[in-house]
Structures are given as C-alpha cells and as structure tokens.
C-alpha cells in the first residue's frame, strides 16, 4: 500500500503522451510524500468523485484552530520563513483608481521588496529575494511587463470579467487571449459561482477547460470565490472540478468578497489538491488571496502547506499569497529581527 493507493473513484484517464511522462519524471513538478508528480493536464470530469466530496465544517474549523497553536517558527527560522513568504507573493493592485504609474511603483517594490540595508544585515544578498509576481488588471499588463523586465518577477493578470466573472463566455475567453498576447505569464480567472450553486458541474468544467485552452502557455489560476460559495463542501467540489478541468493553481478568492482566504477554506482546498495528486499523479498549486495582512498569518499559511502537502508547496511554483498589505508587515518583522526594536510601517518604502 506504499505507493499503490486504491483508487476510490474508478480509473482516472490522465491521457499523457509517453515521452512527456518520461521528461516529467526526470524533472518532477512537485513531490508529495516522496512521490514525483506531473504538472496538471486535467482529467475528464468525474462526477462520482465530485459528488462524494464531504466536508465537516466544525471539524475543519477545529483543525484550523489547533493548527495555529500546533506550529510556530521562531528567531532565524522565522526570518527565513518570512523571506519565503515574500518569494511566494503575488503583489497585487486591483483598484478602480489604478494607473500606469501606480503599477510601475508596485513593480519597483516587487523587484526590490526589502531595503538594501536589511538584506545585508540578514545576510541574504545571494538569495536575490523578489516577489513571485505582480498581479494587475489586463489594462496594465504591458506596463507591468516592461517594468519587471530583467527580473524574476512574473506578470499575472486577473481576467474573465474579474471579479464577478459574469460577462459572456466568448468575451471572457477573448480577454484571456488578449492578456496572454500582451505578455502575461499567469492568468487568474474567476468561475461562474452560479454553476456551483446549481450543481452544474459539467458547465463549470467546460468553462474552466475553455479558459485553460485560451491561457496556454500562461499558467492558469482558478479563483473559486470561496467567500461567495460559503459552504466548505461547495469549496471542495469546485476545487475538484477546477483541477479536473486543468487548473494549474486553485485560488481562494478575488479579494472582493466579504470573507476571503480563511484557514478552514485553506484546509479544504489543500486536502482536495492532495487527493487529486494521489489519484492522478498530478500537482496543482494553491493561492490564498485576500485578508492575509500579517506576518504571523503568512507563517500559519506556510505551515499549513508544509503540513498538508509538503515542502514542494512552500515554493512559488506551487504556492502564492495574493496580497497587497502583507509585505509591509513582513518588512517590519524582519527589521525587528535584525535590530531587536519594533519597527514602524513608514520606515519601509511603499509599493
């Protein structure tokens, strides 16, 4: 029973060409409990699996409650983890008053998220810490593309009628294509929440599969709108459908809902990712977004990834924070780590 797990939901046809498999097995996308995984290519919709998803809300909440008390990192380890949080960050601006100049400022911060003197004092010059990506509306993709030129920072565009996702499907697909053409490395799409409420899993699957087709070669993150879906069972089912339809990442929320990324939602989505990986051998990334503002929260999330999925999901390939205010709090904590004095936010350059 070590690696040969019993399939719960019948055979899963992953339909991967043999040479691709060979290539991927030499350079696995991620490791889950030592098992190499491929990147996600999606599978046909498996309705039995989707409908059998069960989540006990109270139990998941208790797990989330005890999680933050079970795990902690201190001292140098904490500094290292906070740096890791920065490297997994999608630094985001998604406001109606965004301008090109505002986006350039964000990109400048993304390239240099920590002040030089702090970098020196932490002894991490060689790590070349930059955030993983900047996340903007389509309109600013080209601006951002130019502004991050020569850095490791990627450009992510929210798309598909973000944040409601209710414009006609052809328009949403066309929007993805335009962003990819404009140079976006990553596309954050939103699903039609109504499909979830109505249990129209095939329609949801088809929609996401269409997004996926339009996104290539960019990476697709599928935003479930967990604050709208409300029940954790809905979250689990939507997660499974999104992965079956080929999501590279599943992402909690738009940041515009009344509740956004919560730890219980994180547990449900990461468990879905784990189960999908175990059943299909394919790895899907995770992005909590919205509501993550403190350094302490970022540590809780990283620990959640380590506990539920393992170290592969503590890297930008497989894990992102969607955040705007988080970076400043992390900077203050890092300064405190170096100086032993509590810091103030104005001491750190803004994005």
């Amino acid at each position: 029973m070590e690696m040969q797990r019993n399939r719960r939901y019948g055979p899963v046809n992953t339909d991967i060409p043999a040479d691709d498999q060979l290539q991927d097995s030499q350079n696995p996308h991620a490791l889950l409990a030592g098992r190499p995984l491929l990147s996600n290519r999606g599978i046909p919709l498996n309705l039995d699996w989707v409908r059998q998803a069960r989540v006990n809300t109270s139990a998941v909440e208790r797990r989330a409650q005890s999680h933050v008390a079970r795990r902690t990192v201190k001292k140098d380890w904490q500094a290292a983890w906070l740096l890791r949080a920065i490297s997994c960050m999608d630094l985001t601006t998604l406001s109606g008053d965004d301008t090109d100049e505002r986006v350039r400022r964000l990109c400048a911060k993304a390239r240099q998220p920590i002040q030089h003197d702090l970098v020196q004092q932490l002894g991490i010059i060689d790590l070349k810490i930059q955030v993983a990506a900047v996340c903007v509306y389509h309109r600013f993709v080209e601006t951002a593309r130019r502004a991050v030129e020569g850095s490791s920072v990627r450009v992510a565009a929210v798309s598909t009628g973000f944040p409601a996702g209710l414009s006609p499907l052809p328009e949403r697909v066309a929007e993805i294509r335009r962003s990819v053409e404009a140079g976006a490395d990553e596309i954050d799409v939103v699903i039609t929440r109504a499909h979830v409420f109505g249990g129209r899993w095939q329609e949801l699957y088809d929609e996401i599969a269409a997004f996926k087709q339009a996104s290539a070669p960019a990476h697709m993150k599928v935003i479930l709108g967990t604050g709208d879906l409300l029940t954790l069972r809905n979250v689990a089912r939507a997660s499974l459908v999104a992965m079956m339809a080929g999501a590279d990442f599943i992402k909690t929320s738009t940041g515009k809902e009344t509740t956004n990324a919560t730890l219980p939602v994180g547990f449900v989505m990461t468990r879905a990712i784990r189960e999908y990986a175990q059943e299909t051998g394919m790895a899907v990334g995770f992005k909590p977004a919205g509501g993550i503002r403190t350094a302490k929260q970022s540590l809780d999330w990283l620990a959640l990834m380590k506990e539920e999925l393992g170290d592969s999901w503590m890297k930008a390939d497989m894990f992102r924070f969607g955040a705007s205010g988080l970076l400043n709090d992390i900077e203050r904590q890092l300064e405190h780590h170096v100086t032993g004095r509590y810091s103030a936010s104005y001491r750190h350059p803004i994005a």
Binding site: M1, R54, N56, A59, L83, R84, I124, D126, L127, E307
Partner: protein
C-alpha cells in the same frame, strides 16, 4: 546554519517555551516539598521522600514527601476539624472561594502549564491550551454550583470528608475535577496526586494558601500507592473519589465495602472510534490525532480501537499513515511538539510489551519514519492493523500512542464490535449522515459519545463511564450529586441485623395442619411461572411462627435463568416512555382492583393494618413512577463550543434488586418501579420473611401487559441469592436494601464487573414516607447519563 540556508531548508526549528519561571518556583521551595496539611507545609512524619523527574530528560525536578498512614491521619483530622466552619459558610461565601481559585489558576496559568509539562512530559501546547484552561473553567463552573446549591439541591447535604486519588495523565485537570465539586458542595478534601506527577498539585496548594482558603479545607498528601491505600482505608473518610486504572478501582471497591464510604470511580477504557464511509475522512483522521495521539495516548477515553467501514479501509489507512508522518515528536516544552514523552519507564515498557504481544498475535505494526528524541521516554505513534477482537491490543487498555484498527461491514456490526468490550467510557462516531450518527450513538455503551469530534470536555457535561469504566460522573449536575447525600439519609438510624434464616431447608415434614392456605407460589422468570431448580420449598411463617405457606427455594441456577431472561427482555428499554407509563398505570389499576385479596394475604405476615397501608401506598407509588416514566428527561448542555451536548438518561441495564424485609409489598414496589419506569429489566429477590408476595406480584404483572422478562422474581435465602446476583457479570447494578451485613455483601461481591451498587447502608428507610422512599434519588440510580456531543455548522 545561516538564514539563507534556513530559507532553503524550510524546517520549523526549535520553539522552546522558557521554563525559567517554573524552575524559579521550584528553587524557591528548595526543590523539596512536604505535605500541605491544615493550610501549612508539613514534613512527612516518617521523614521519607521520593524524587519526581522530567520524563523527557530523566532529570530530577524535585523531592516530595512520601505520605504515611500517620500523615494521612493528620490530613483527615485537619479536614474533619475544618468541616463545621466550612459548612457554616453561606453558599455565596464558598462560591467566592471557588471563584478566587479560578482566577488564581488563570493568573498563574503559564507557570502551571510549564510545570505540568515538565513533570508529566505532555506537549506544552496541550497543557497551555487544553489542561489549564479547563482547570480554570471547572472552578468557575463550580463556583456557580456553590452559589446555587440550596436552590438547586434542596434537601441534600455534603458527604463530609472526602478522600481523592488522581492519576498522572492530567494531573492538575483531574485535581480540578475532584476538588471543585467537592468544595462547591461543602466537603473538605484530602487529595493524593499521582506519584509521577505531584508538582502542580503542590502549586495548587500554594494557591489555596494565597487566596486564604481556610486551613484544612484542602489538604494535599503526596506519596505512592500505599499512601492512597491509607486514605482509602481511613475510617473517618466519608467518600472516596478515584480516577485511575480498573484494577486499582476494583481494589478500592473491595477495601471500602465494609464501610459507609460513598464511592465514585473513573477508570479505564478501550474506546471505539467508528468511521463510516460517508464521513469526512480527512477530518476523521484529525480526530484520531486529537484522540489517540493526544497526550501520547495516555488518556482514559482515547479512541484506541479504530473501527472502519470496509469500503474505505484502504484509503483511510493510507490517510492515517500520511498524517502520522507529519506528527512531530520532540521536547515537550517545544511549542511545535505533537508527541511528548511517556510519563515513566514502566509505562514505556508496558506499551512496548503490549505492542509486541499484539504483533505476535498477527497484527501488522506500522510506525512513521519521523525523528524521535534520542533520550527520554518516547514511543513513536503506532498503527496496528490486521487486528481482530480476539487480540490483546483490541481488548486491553494500552495507554500509549497505539491505534488498533479493525473493519466492519454494517452499522449493526459497528455497534456490536464497539460494545464488545468490558469498558464503556467514551466513543467517537464519524458520519455525515445524522441518522446513522445518532442511531449508532444511542446504541453505544459509553458515558460520552463524540459525533464528528474527539476529546471535547467541559465542566457542564458529565464525564464518566459505563461497565468497568467505573461509576459516577464528573462535571454537570450529575457530578455535583456525587458529593451530596439526602440529608435524611445521612442521619437515618441503622436497621437491626436481620435474623439469619436456616441456610438450607432439609425438606422434611411440613406441618400441613397449621396451614389454612393452599396456594402454589412459583418463581417468575421470563414472564412464566417456574418451579425452582432445587425442587425444594421454603417455609413461610407469620410473626407467631405459624406456617402460612411455602415459597420456592431459588438457587444460583434460578438466578442464572432470571438474568438471562432479563437480558433477553432488553426491548423494554427501547419501548417508548409513554408505553412504559401506560403499563405502570395499568399495574396500579389492577392492584387497586385486587387490593383486598392481596392485603388479606399480606396481613397474615405483617398484620392487617400494615398490609392495608402497604397496598394503598403501593398503588400510589406505582402511579408516581408511571408519572415519572415520561418525565425523567435528560438535558441539553451549553459547553463553550458551537455544538449541542445531549445528556440522555439511559437505563443502567439489568438490575438485581434485593428487597427489604420489613415491607414485603411496598419495599418491592418502591425499588422495582423506578428501575422499570426508566427501562431497566429487573431480577428481584423479595422480602425474605414473606416471599409469598411474589405470587401476587406476578399475577399483577401478567395481567398488566408487562413484557415477559422485564421483571423476574426469585425467592429464597437472601444470603445465597444476593451473592450469586452481586457476582453475576451480566448484571449491571445491584440494589440491596436490608441490614448492614447485606449492604457489605452487595458491595464486596460486586467487584468482578464493577457493577453499580445502591444500598441503604443498612439504615432505616421509611417506605411509607414518599420524601424518603420515592423520586429522583431512586431514578438517578436507575439511570446513567450519556453525553452525546454533536457539533454543528455548515
């Protein structure tokens, strides 16, 4: 390792809780503690001390006094002396002391948590987030009962001086569970903490001093088993409350049988953890982490027997293994440790021995490849699969981080396997289907059932077991009652010793001429009249020695048959309360119609006046219990979680009832009816001098639609029948209301399966006085509370 290297490794790193304050406290006491008696530290009279050590390092923490019988005597004297003034306080004044204890526990919470973790080896997260907050909660909750005592428990009085013996797995929490209800109800206390973990009790003693608790109200005497034995055997102790192993519980039952000490026992368990195929499996696995890997599995209610529905067994085992691989074993004071140290070498060896034995019996052992500390007493989290009910690891309490996994096919089989144990402390049921979850919960023999959760505790919800997991509850209103007695009962005079009848009739000539009544009375078993196995009869004489008839001479085989019949009649418990009420009313109606005839016969034995009064009162008493049948409800508690905790009054099961001599009819009715009303089945032994009442009673039952086997009657010599009944392992409770010697016998013979014992302690009960002889006092003993925790939320 530099920060850059740590950035690559992404390990947790150490996160130690600083023990400085706790160590300073130990140093302040020169790391040497006497007993806390009469509000002051006292050197042990024999001058003997022993060491207590940190099990994660083996390092000595402090030296504590070894309590001798002399020390116990001093503590009991102090508690006795303090009692009058403590009881003279107003309820409000006592409530203030309890409130103060709660506050001070909170003020010193971190020191207490660190001390607990150092002494016991449990992870600091658990002592900090679970044990100590529950300790404070327990004192707050019972401060409330202290305040409300006269309104909520009218007519009750404190037991008096209480001896309490607690285990090492939750040292301060078990102290709180014992001391808080005892003080709230006006008792004074001698508490003996476990030998391995005395430190937090001593810290608590200091808190008692800090808050100005009157000297002698709480006394702490440290020591080993011999100290506990001295406390149990001390003649001036009114109640013993014990939490610990079933073996020791049994010894305490024996040791206290000769006395009037009230007794509550919270003992071992082998609790089932049932996972249905429609459960949230990932959450159920977390439930196991909170169950069997909580406190290294050293938890009496640990879900140590995993019962998995066959269809999900493989996938579940895989999930459990994955989860076990992320558990972190390490220094207990590290804030990110999941698995701490086992309390002592002897316990570590016991776990290993049982696991070895389980493997020898065919179990497959799996342990994750996680890093284990190189020193200290550690045992890795362990999963035993291919376990069958016959295996020792499925039967015996291991008290370690060892899970024994089995499968089941249907809900009915899950219940059967779950109940296939001598214990009955707790159970877990995981299913997303509320019908399955509640149906199974209602059938489990366990004092606590957690639905889709594990190891939730609160002071408002009673905790305690069925079967050999002990009796009495801690927490809730039922827990408060353990420290109270009806005031009238405390001062009731002793009955004269019963004249012992000839041990065995020779079956010789009967003076038939003296008998005017030609009547055949038989035993009543399974709803049928039955001849006694012995083939002998017992002569029944009136007060003048005139022979008035013969009763069958029942023997052990008749008792055996009666118990089997009672067990088969379990459907009585499942019938609706309304249905039981109707049958009881009908009995009263039928008794009323036959009142004169029955009174006439009874009059020959007890006199006409008493006979008429007995019949009259019996009709009324049956009416009372018919009334109670659908009104002795449970409760819904409000623990501080989003859930409902349903406290159900369940029948104890099969109850053996030995009836008083003095009121053959009314005594029988007063004891059998409350048992029957709440759904028990009964084996009754009627009044020894006038067993002929059986004939009238079974006619009454037959004509009142009482299902066969719900009540069984065996007549004969009490001295013989009581022993067989009290020893019978399929009898759940023994009630005995005769002289002192009978009460002692009932208690002594009950130890085999630790059945619940309810006696009059050989005291006089006025069966005609409803205040004494009727109502909740009896119904409470006829039931046991099962708390079913059902969290909700979507």
């Amino acid at each position: 390792m530099s920060i850059a290297e740590k950035f690559v490794a992404m390990e947790y790193g150490p996160a130690p809780e600083d023990p400085k304050e706790a160590l300073a406290w130990l140093d302040h006491h020169q790391r040497r503690f006497g007993h806390f008696i009469n509000g002051a530290w006292m050197e042990p009279s024999a001058g003997e001390y022993f060491d207590t050590a940190d099990p994660s390092t083996g390092e000595k923490l402090a030296t504590v006094a070894q309590g001798s019988p002399t020390d116990i005597d001093a503590a009991v004297k102090a508690a006795r002396a303090a009692l009058p003034e403590w009881q003279a306080l107003t309820p409000h004044a006592r409530a203030r002391y309890l409130y103060s204890l709660a506050r001070h526990v909170q003020k010193h919470s971190r020191r207490l948590a660190v001390l607990e973790t150092m002494d016991n080896g449990k992870p600091i997260r658990e002592s900090r987030d679970i044990d100590i907050p529950l300790v404070a909660r327990h004192f707050y909750y019972h401060a409330g009962w202290a305040q409300l005592l006269p309104q909520e428990f009218p007519g009750y009085t404190a037991c008096g001086v209480v001896g309490q013996i607690i285990p090492w797995n939750f040292p301060l929490l078990m102290l709180a569970w014992k001391i808080a209800p005892a003080l709230a109800t006006g008792n004074t206390v001698i508490l003996k903490p476990a030998e391995f973990t005395p430190l937090t009790a001593l810290a608590f003693a200091e808190i008692c001093h800090e808050i100005g608790l009157p000297p002698g109200v709480v006394n702490i005497v440290t020591g080993d088993g011999s100290t506990g034995e001295a406390l149990v055997k001390h003649p001036d102790v009114d109640k013993i409350a014990f939490t610990g192993s079933t073996e020791v519980g049994r010894a305490i039952r024996s040791a206290t049988a000769q006395s009037h000490k009230k007794l509550s026992l919270e003992l071992g368990g082998k609790s089932p953890f049932i996972i249905f195929e429609d459960a949230d499996l990932d959450s159920a696995v977390e439930g196991l982490v909170d169950g069997i890997w909580f406190n290294q599995g050293q938890v009496c209610c640990a879900g140590s027997r995993l019962l998995m529905q066959e269809s999900i067994a493989d996938i579940l085992i895989a999930k459990i293994r994955d989860r076990m691989s992320t558990l972190r074993a390490g220094p207990p004071l590290d804030k990110a440790t999941d698995i701490g140290a086992i309390v002592a070498r002897v316990q570590l060896d016991r776990i290993q021995r049982l696991v070895d034995q389980g493997m020898a019996e065919g179990a497959t052992c799996w342990q994750p490849q996680i890093q284990m500390p190189s020193r200290g007493f550690y045992f890795p989290p362990t999963l035993l699969s291919n376990v069958h009910p016959t295996s020792i690891v499925a039967q015996q309490e291991i008290f370690g981080p060892v899970l024994a996994a089995m499968t089941f096919r249907t809900p009915a089989e899950a219940v059967e396997l779950a109940n296939n144990t001598k214990y009955g402390l707790a159970a877990c049921v995981w299913s997303e289907n509320i019908n399955v979850a509640l149906d199974v919960s209602s059938q489990l023999k366990a004092g606590v059932v957690w639905v889709n959760c594990t190891n939730l505790f609160d002071a408002s919800c009673g905790f305690g077991g069925y079967r050999e997991s002990g009796y009495g509850r801690e927490g809730g209103k039922e827990g408060v009652l353990e420290y109270l007695e009806p005031a009238w009962f405390k001062t009731a005079p002793p009955l004269p010793a019963a004249k012992s009848l000839p041990p065995e009739s020779s079956g010789g000539e009967i003076e038939s001429a003296a008998s005017e009544i030609d009547r055949t009375v038989k035993l009543y078993i399974g709803g049928k009249q039955a001849r006694p196995d012995s083939g002998y009869s017992l002569e029944v004489r009136d007060s003048n020695g005139q022979l008035i008839g013969e009763a069958p001479l029942g023997n052990r085989k008749d008792i055996r048959n009666a118990v089997e019949a009672a067990r088969k009649a379990a459907g009585w418990a499942k019938s609706t309360a309304h249905n039981r009420a109707q049958i009881l009313y009908y009995m009263a109606e039928n008794l009323s119609q036959r009142r004169e005839e029955i009174a006439n016969r009874l009059g020959a034995a007890v006199g006409k006046a008493q006979a008429a009064a007995e019949v009259r009162s019996s009709i009324e008493r049956i009416f009372s219990y018919a009334a109670w049948a659908d009104k002795f409800d449970g409760a819904v508690h409000n623990p501080p979680f989003r859930n409902i905790a349903i406290a159900m009054n369940e029948p104890v099961g099969t109850v053996g009832i030995v009836c008083p001599n003095e009121t053959p009819l009314l005594g029988f009715i007063s004891l059998v009816m409350p048992a029957l009303a709440v759904g028990n089945t009964v084996i009754a032994v009627p009044s020894e001098p006038y067993p002929l009442i059986a004939g009238d009673l079974y006619q009454l039952f037959d004509t009142s639609d009482l299902p066969g086997g719900a009540v069984n009657i065996v007549t004969g010599y009490i001295s013989q029948l009581l022993k067989v009944l009290a020893e019978h392992e399929d009898v759940d409770a023994i009630w005995c209301f005769r002289d002192e010697a009978s009460a002692v016998a009932a208690k002594s013979f009950s130890t085999g399966n630790l059945k619940q014992v309810f006696t009059n302690a050989g005291r006089v009960i006025d069966w005609f006085d409803a205040e004494q002889a009727e109502g909740r006092w009896f119904l409470q003993r006829a039931t046991q509370v099962k708390n079913i925790w059902v969290p909700y939320g979507e």
